[in-house]
């Protein structure tokens, strides 16, 4: 249990660090995937700890959600690339509201 949570924590921290440090939009999306998976590991570990199937069901939900998120995210990146021929997130800073 403890080890699984440590693994999840490390994964989440790695994902967050990637999200904050990477400038390429594709890598940012990948970092988000890693963070989602970290959350999934935590759910599964917690489910096995309490002997409940809810953790695994939750992970299935996360999988579906991550798949759709990637689809929408990639489509947005594609559209964005049409307007600004770059994937650098810092270069696309003209969307201040």
């Amino acid at each position: 249990m403890g080890h699984a949570l440590v693994l999840a924590g490390v994964l989440f921290a790695l994902g967050l660090a990637g999200l904050l440090m990477r400038r390429n939009l594709i890598f940012i999306l990948m970092s988000i995937e890693i963070m989602l998976n970290a959350a999934g590991v935590a759910f599964v570990a917690a489910g096995s700890r309490w002997g409940q199937p809810d953790g695994q069901i939750m992970f299935l939900f996360i999988l579906a959600m991550a798949a759709s998120e990637v689809a929408v995210g990639l489509a947005l990146v594609l559209r964005l690339y049409r307007h600004h021929p770059t994937l650098d997130a810092d270069a696309i800073s003209d969307m201040r509201g």
Binding site: L16, L19, L20, M21, I28, A89, D90, S93, M95, R96
Partner: protein
């Protein structure tokens, strides 16, 4: 017939509303406006005829429409009161308004604000008639403020020139000083006598107040304050010359014939109050006599045709105040009537002249218009003779001689007032014939480009006729008015007869004409020499600037107020509010930096925020 009374102000009011709100086509505007004033004049004539043919027992009609409001014992009614005094005023005002509206249809034809102009003019007529017919002082005050508003709107009618707007504001603010005094006077009357109905006031005042009691004097003086403001008498006269910034028909209607005489009407209406306060009545006479001289001298030095006429109006209203003050009440109203005719005509003829010479106001650039504008010349001469008082023939002479005679023989009359009135006659004929000689005789200095059409000539013709024949009704007029206004002639013996007084006034008029002839026609160099001598030059400048009154008021009131406002702008209370504003601006400046459009910065913000939030939830 008295049932129609409400229609007199209601028709022009409805027309003003229609012109202001509905998109009336240009062609129709003039028709509606003129028809409304014509209908109002006809109704007032009908009511007047009915009144004269079957005199009611009360010597008045009263029509109560509804109670305006009812609070704390004050329940003023929307009610109209029609007696000989308001009959004369109403008929004259409605009729002159109609003629000037007719004149305006042609005069204003090229103006872009055609329907706006007529909406204001009709609203003015409605307010003025409400003022005259009001049964209580509150309704009178409503009309009083209404005419003030229309005066302001019409002085600044050509609003694109800031000077016109300034003139309008000046008129509004200066008259407001008087109106405030008048409002306090109304509070005082209501507080002491418990009503604002004029007839009740006139009955209760002698029961509650002794002659000369301080409350009566205070109320009378406060009402006088309102009257001098509206009628441009000393010391609130400075707005009228600037009011000439408005279109000429406005000057004719509002600033000569009707509105500026509202103060005369108010004092005549409240004459019982003034007979209870002899000091206040003397103040009326003194204000009138002083204005009469001050304005007369100023008129001598002006070069702007309309400003001369403005000073002349002040001077003539000074005559009316003098008549009121000495107790010659009917003479004041009679002079109001003749003045309405000849002064309106003078302005209308001046409008023709100014129109003809390309909006030139300077009389020294006109000259020689006698042959080229014969119609304007003859109407101007008739009106000018009436104003200056050509004996026997003109209406103005009869009314003015009545006042001159009353200035000595009236209840408060004295030889001093009589002398002042005679000097006024001299000044009047001097500046009138100065105008006539300079504008219409001598060498031509300008081209005549426009000639008046029928719509401008008919009103002038009718008014010229009235400027002569209106005087012949003096005797019946006096008897008719004596039923409501006392005429205290001959209460003290004086050494001259009325005929002698008229003879002296007539010869003074002739002296004035002769002097004007010498100075302004035959030997123009005399006038120039007189004006360029040291004393003459100083006097000329002093009179030209309205005796330095504008300068004085500017130093005394306007500049200290502006200075105080500037100092007050940065006091410590303001410091607190500007501090709040400054703090907000600072916080905004800081927070603005977080909004930089960088995706990763926002993500870091969210992450940091959730760490803080979870830490708070876990550890606190």
């Amino acid at each position: 017939m008295p049932d129609l009374l409400w229609l007199i102000p209601a028709i022009p009011f409805a027309s003003a509303l229609a012109l202001a709100v509905l998109p009336v086509p240009r062609k129709l505007v003039a028709w509606i406006a003129v028809a409304a004033t014509a209908a109002s004049a006809v109704v007032s004539l009908l009511v007047a005829i009915a009144f004269l043919s079957a005199r009611p027992v009360a010597n008045s009609y009263t029509q109560v429409l509804w109670t305006w409001f009812d609070v704390g014992g004050l329940h003023p009614q929307i009610a109209f009161y029609f007696d000989p005094l308001s009959l004369i005023m109403t008929v004259v005002v409605a009729f002159v308004s109609f003629l000037i509206h007719l004149y305006s249809t042609e005069f204003m034809i090229d103006d872009e604000g055609y329907s706006r102009f007529f909406a204001y003019m009709n609203l003015f007529v409605a307010s003025m008639l409400t003022l005259l017919l009001a049964d209580n002082l509150l309704l009178l005050y409503l009309g009083w403020e209404g005419v003030g508003l229309c005066s302001y709107l019409l002085i600044g009618f050509w609003y694109r020139d800031p000077a016109n707007g300034r003139a309008g504001r000046k008129a509004f603010i200066v008259t407001r000083v008087g109106d405030t005094a008048m409002a306090i006077g109304l509070f005082l009357l209501f507080h002491n006598l418990g009503t604002l109905r004029i007839q009740d006031l006139m009955q209760r005042a002698p029961q509650h107040w002794q002659v000369g009691s301080s409350a009566a004097v205070a109320a009378a003086l406060l009402l006088l304050g309102g009257a001098v403001g509206k009628s441009a008498q000393l010391p609130l006269q400075t707005w009228l010359p600037d009011a000439m910034a408005g279109p000429t028909p406005v000057s004719a209607l509002i600033h000569a014939a009707t509105m500026v005489t509202a103060g005369v009407y108010l004092i005549a209406r409240m004459h019982v109050l003034y007979s209870l306060a002899p000091i206040a009545q003397s103040a009326v006479a003194v204000a009138g006599a002083a204005t009469l001289l001050v304005a007369g001298f100023s008129a001598l030095t002006q070069w702007d045709l309309k400003r001369i006429l403005a000073y002349s109006t002040m001077s003539q209203i000074g005559y009316m105040f003098l008549a009121l003050g000495v107790g010659a009440w009917p003479a004041a109203i009679f002079h109001f009537m003749t003045h309405a005719f000849f002064k309106a005509l003078l302005f209308l003829a001046a409008g023709i002249v100014i129109n003809a010479v390309h909006d030139e106001h300077n009389i020294f650039r006109m000259g020689g218009l006698r042959t080229r504008l014969p119609f304007a010349f003859w109407t101007f001469v008739i009106a000018g003779c009436s104003l200056a008082g050509l004996p026997l023939v003109t209406a103005g002479a009869l009314s003015k001689d009545w006042i001159v005679w009353g200035a000595w023989s009236g209840g408060n009359g004295s030889p001093e007032f009589w002398t002042v009135a005679l000097i006024g006659v001299l000044l009047t004929s001097l500046y009138t014939f100065r105008m006539i000689f300079v504008v219409f005789f001598g060498e031509a200095h300008s081209e005549v480009t426009k000639r008046p059409g029928l719509a401008m000539r008919i009103p002038c013709f009718v008014l010229a006729l009235l400027s002569i024949v209106a005087g012949y009704v003096k005797m019946p007029f006096g008897r008719f008015l004596e039923t409501v206004l006392p005429w205290s002639e001959g209460t003290h013996a004086i050494p001259i007869t009325e005929l002698a007084s008229e003879g002296i006034a007539g010869s003074v008029f002739l002296i004035g004409v002769y002097l004007a002839y010498v100075f302004f026609l035959r030997k123009r160099s005399y006038a120039a020499a007189l004006a360029s001598s040291t004393a003459g030059n100083a006097l000329h400048r002093f009179w030209f600037s309205d005796w330095g009154m504008d300068w004085l008021y500017d130093r005394l009131f306007v500049q200290p107020l502006v200075w105080f406002a500037r100092v007050d702008k940065s006091d410590f209370i303001d410091g607190f509010y500007t501090g709040v504003a400054w703090l907000n601006e600072f916080a905004w400046g800081v927070l603005r930096r977080t909004e930089n459009g960088r995706l990763r910065w926002y993500a870091a913000g969210i992450a940091g925020g959730s760490v803080v939030f979870i830490a708070v939830v876990l550890f606190l």
